[in-house]
């Protein structure tokens, strides 16, 4: 009833709790968070991906005077099919056995950059369509790779198509009365698996 030793135990408790706390803080601080740590948004990785993505579009969109850029050429000749990377080439979604693989300027660059670095990627096109007397944006997918992670980085480039570009039938002419054919927003979504 009148035992007063409890006070000592309290201080010992405080001491051990402090030590435990310091150990926990030390252990957490010492553990490094890698770019692949789940649900970790690493700004450094995102910034690198963004620079790389913009560089890819810059390189693809370069053209000598009076020539069509590689990026524009690929968009003009896109046949509307969706492709997926199977580990060695870009095959048709749902029809992997067919030999209609996507092999153009875009896939050449992506194979030598993103694929080599193990960066998952998808490519989407948003262009305008006329629907019920309204012009609305429509998004089609060229390269599909599932749902991106929360840390995905998107880079995009707008390409203006003219009637004289002889665009394949996939993308419609939104204004037949003028030389404007369509405006395409090509998006490259990249993320670390």
């Amino acid at each position: 009833m009148f035992d007063e030793k409890g006070q000592l135990h309290t201080l010992e408790g405080v001491a051990s709790a402090t030590i435990l706390l310091m150990v926990m803080i030390y252990a957490i601080d010492a553990t490094s968070m890698t770019p692949l740590t789940a649900s970790t948004s690493s700004l450094r990785v995102e910034s690198e991906l963004q620079t790389l993505g913009q560089d890819i579009f810059n390189v693809l969109d370069y053209s000598e005077a009076n020539y069509t850029s590689k990026l524009k050429y690929d968009i003009i000749n896109w046949n509307g099919t969706e492709y997926i990377y199977d580990g060695s080439k870009y095959v048709e979604v749902g029809n992997a056995t067919s030999q209609n693989n996507l092999n153009n300027n875009l896939t050449n660059i992506l194979s030598s950059t993103l694929v080599k670095q193990g960066i998952a990627h998808k490519v989407e096109l948003t262009y305008l369509i006329n629907s019920n007397n309204k012009t609305v944006p429509y998004t089609g997918s060229i390269i599909y790779a599932g749902a991106p992670s929360n840390n995905a980085v998107i880079v995009s480039r707008k390409i203006v198509l003219q009637d004289t570009d002889n665009v394949a039938a996939t993308i419609p002419d939104i204004d037949p009365s003028s030389n404007l054919f369509n405006i395409v927003d090509i998006r490259l979504v990249m993320w670390r698996m």
């Binding site: 009148f2 007063e4 000592l8 201080l11 810059n58 370069y62 080599k116």
Partner: protein
Amino acid sequence: MVIIIIMKIHGFRFTDLKIIHRIQGQDRSRKGTGFIGSERGQLAVDYIAGMSIFLLTAAFVFQFMYGLFAPFQSYSDEVTLAAEKSSTVLVERLLVADKSGSRSTVDEGKLNYFMNTRLNYSNRTEYDSALRDLGLLSNEIIFDVNVSVSHTNSTLFNRSGIKNPNGPVLLENLETGTSKRFVLIVNSSTGYNETVYISVRVW
């Protein structure tokens, strides 16, 4: 863990029987003095002092352990920022192909001149002027830079006598910031063009 176990052992030394006896002795001596109410909650001053010293020691040890690993911790923020800034200046201003309209297009002649002449470390005047142009040398900051150009399959770009990589030799034990740009090298007179990586390393 060994340190924690040692601390635990030290902790118990402070609470050995001698101290407890002293506390109990004080309590006994006070019982006759007529203090009102309970006397629980009072501790010997030397016990509190001992415990404080112990806790301070433990805190100091943990603080010191951080310092022990400091040389191996990354402080690369500054060098990485410098590398990113200088690679942007290099690719988008110093080497950019005239009238290309693209920010990642590099002129082959400018690249050769920059790599062979301006990054020539044995000519400190040229090298320092290149550092100033890259924003890596001023009254406040001094960095060193090493630039390399490589193909997408990681082999070194080796065309028309380019000195690649160039700049001072990378140091092994120093934190280095790296920035990599994917660019198109063009030569408008020959029509040559090729995609390469330009890596800028700053320390």
